[in-house]
Every structure is written in C-alpha cells, then in structure tokens.
C-alpha cells in the first residue's frame, strides 16, 4: 500500500531524513516512534506530499508522491490524515467540517455527504455534537471528530501524526479506543505515536527512528521483546519506566 524507498530530505544544510526505507502492507498497522526531532513526523508528512523530499521515492497504491506530474490533491483525498492539534476548521459546525471536503473534493451531494458524516459521527460517539462548533468541544472530542472527518473520505489508508500528544491524559483513551477499533476493522494505518500500549495492542510492526534514520523496523513482538539497537533499548527503557 505504502512504499517508502530510500527517502532523504534536507532543510538547507540540515538533513532531516536519511535514506528511509520501509513499506506498509494493506491492513497493516505500523507504529512509528522515536525521540522528538528524529524525523518521524516529517516522514509521515512526506507520505501524502505535505512535505517535499529531495531524493528517494514514495509510492502510495501505485502513485508516486514525489512525481511532479502526480495530482497530489487527488491522492490526498483518499489518504486520511489526523494531526496532533486536530485542525478542525473552527468557523464551521462539526457536521460541516465532515461534509465540506466530501462536497467540494469528491463532488458528493449535500444529503449523501450529510448522511455519511452523521454515520461516522455516530461511530465516534459524537452524533449529538453535530450542530456545535469545534471550540465548544473538548480536545478528545475534537480529535475523534477529526478521525471521523478523515473517514468520511473513504480513505485507502490513514496517517496519524501524534494524535494524542496534545490531549489531557484523561482524554487519550477515548481517541485510542477509536483507533484500535479502526485497526481491528482492517484499516491500513501508519501512526506516529508514543503510546506504546496502543502499539502493543494493535501494531503489526514498529519503526524506531533516531536522527532521521530508521534504526529499527521490526515486528511488534521482536521490537518489544528484543530490540536490537542500543538506542531503541534506551528509548524503550525511558518511556516504559513508569
């Protein structure tokens, strides 16, 4: 589904990604973790072309992301993305947040878009919030809406960029629950997250990054059982301490 082949990226002189290679199979859940500044968010943003990269290739379901001839808008319309800061559109009601891209990008009619929006709002347990504005919802609720918004586009895969990092601790679980459910339904997912509990529960593979390099790319059991690199061992020891 997603093939990342020797991707490198520089900000001027500074190299943020070095020769990153990995793949995400259909229905696979891949968790990307690593210390901050390791390039994991940058890598995931390269997948839907939000960040350009200077060398290498990324192919999403047969379409090359880096190819200047690729219609990036079209590609992005069926790659769902969820951001750290939710990024709902504050001036629209919740339901409008869910329908606008369906109408303007996919060309669905109002009714169809609304039905679909309500269906996914119901799935994340927020149907009654439909007429409210994002500013009136809690962080956890906003992030669930953001997930529903992405799902409305019938995505072929979902990218999560630290979806729970901006949340108060008591709201993290409500978002993770939605993600776990998605994973169990067979959604292809690439998640940048520090939630190792989530990784243990649903990930097929875990990628560990440091200084722009993919240091480990292992199955979940291997990663938590016997991480090969010292750096990954240190990282795990630190975040699993408490």
């Amino acid at each position: 589904m997603i093939e990342i082949k020797s991707v490198s990226k520089w900000y001027g002189e500074f190299q943020v990604l070095t020769d990153c290679t990995t793949t995400v199979q259909k229905s696979e859940v891949v968790v990307v973790c690593g210390p901050s500044g390791s390039g994991k968010s940058t890598l995931i943003k390269c997948v839907n072309g939000l960040e350009p990269f200077q060398s290498g290739e990324i192919i999403v379901k047969g379409t090359s992301v880096g190819d200047p001839k690729t219609n990036l808008s079209k590609l992005r319309s069926h790659v769902g993305m969820v951001f750290q800061n939710f990024e709902l559109f504050p001036h629209m009601t919740i339901i409008d947040n869910l329908t606008i891209a369906q109408e303007k990008v996919l060309g669905r009619n109002k009714e169809e878009a609304r039905d679909k929006g309500m269906k996914f709002l119901d799935r994340v347990g927020l149907k009654i919030q439909a007429p409210k504005h994002p500013g009136q919802l809690s962080g956890g609720q906003q992030q669930r809406v953001a997930i529903a918004r992405a799902l409305c586009m019938d995505p072929i895969c979902m990218l999560f960029d630290e979806p729970t990092s901006a949340l108060d601790p008591e709201m993290i679980n409500e978002v993770l629950d939605v993600m776990v459910e998605l994973a169990k339904e067979g959604m292809t997912m690439m998640c940048v997250t520090h939630e190792m509990g989530f990784a243990r529960k649903v990930a097929n593979r875990v990628i560990f990054m440091d200084h722009g390099l993919i240091v480990e790319d292992a199955t979940k059991d291997d990663f938590f059982g016997t991480p090969r690199s010292d750096r990954a061992q240190q990282f795990l020891a630190k975040i699993l301490q408490h």
């Binding site: 943003k45 992005r76 800061n85 990024e87 559109f89 409210k132 500013g135």
Partner: protein, 245 residues
Amino acid sequence: MSYNWNWGVFLQPSASGDDTYLGWLFTGLKWTISLSLSAWVIALIVGSIIGVLRTVPNRWLSGFATGYVELFRNIPLLVQLFIWYFVLPELLPADLGNAFKQSNPLWQQFFCAMLCLGLFTSARVAEQVRSGIESLPKGQKNAGLAMGFTLPQVYRHVLMPMAYRIIMPPLTSEFLNIFKNSAVATTIGLIELSRQAQQLVDYTAQPYEAFIAVTVMYLLINVTVMFLMRRLEEKVRVPGFVGGK
C-alpha cells in the same frame, strides 16, 4: 474675540441661488460617502488579492505583491493623488488622454480620487489580510490540503473565513481611515465634504459654524461605520473560538 455666531446661515439661500448652504454640505456629504464607499470596494478586492499573494508559496507572485504594497504604502497619499490626476492622463495614449480630459471634470476628479484612495488603502488592507492569514496555525493549511483541497480551495474554504474574522477590528479602522482620507480629494477640486466647508467659509465668512458642521458630519459617518462593523463582527463570531493563535 468678537465673533458673530450665526447658525441660521445654513438655511440661507446659497450663492448659487438654487440651494441653501446646508444643501451644499449635503452635496459634499454625498460625494464623500460615494467616493469612500467605492474606494473601499476597490481596497477590499485588490487588498485581499494582494494579501493572499503575499502568502503563497511562489517567489514571483509574493515578490510582486510585496513590491505593490511597498509602492503604495510608502508614497504620501497626496503625491499619489497628484500623480493619478495630473501625470497619468499625460502618459495615456493621446486619444485616451484627450477623451479623459474632455470628460466631465467632476467625473475626472471622482474617478482619480477613487482609484487613488482605493489602491492606497488596498496596500494597507493587503497587510492586514496577510497578517490574518499568517496568524492562523500552520496546521490549518495542511489539514485542508490533506483532505484533497487544492491550494485555492484551502484559501477559499479554510484560511480566508478565519483570517477575515481575525482582522475585523483593524479592517474597521482602515474603513474609517478611508472616509477621513477622502478629504484629500479637495486638493484636485472634488466638491466633497471638506471642500464644501471651505466654500461655505469663502461665501459666508462663518468658519466656526461651517467646520463644526462638517466635523459633526464626519463623526456621524464614522460612528455609523463603527456601529455597523461591530454588528457584523458579532454576527460572524465563531462560538467557542477564543482569538487567533
């Protein structure tokens, strides 16, 4: 100081015979309002386009917009007006220039003043629009793009609706400025409000009454504008949204 106050002067028949002096002031008021409103339309449209161009990821377009803003912002308004009125008609192709000079002088003055005020203010509006867009979290643009919107769609549906809301207060003061700045049109002879006040002084020798009256008229215009803009601000307020980031 001996000064003969005479508020009755406004009801006297004017020197032109077919009107009262109050009528003169109302004619001036009419021109001030039509000049300012039409210039404001130009300022909003051109300013929005230039403001957006300043933020797009294209060096040529944003460079052009920056040049535009610096040009119109850094030349005194009065100099710009003289350039539009006295210099530009000479630079037009002869036919067009002559046609312009033979048209009704009132419309020549109005047209030049409108363009001048509109474009001068557009540079200031552009700066407000740019700062409004830049004050939005960068993730908003990414979120729009990630959903498959094209860049113009992101501006149209995601960025601009919030940017305009955020810059409503500074836009209000630009709107007020345009009414005040419209008084420069008096220098090329347009019979707007402050011109009529001067005329009244010339004909009646009652400067205090004349200038108190136009002061009140300018005040009334701006109080009305402030009131309407505040109503608009309340109307488009986003529930639960607290300021920009």
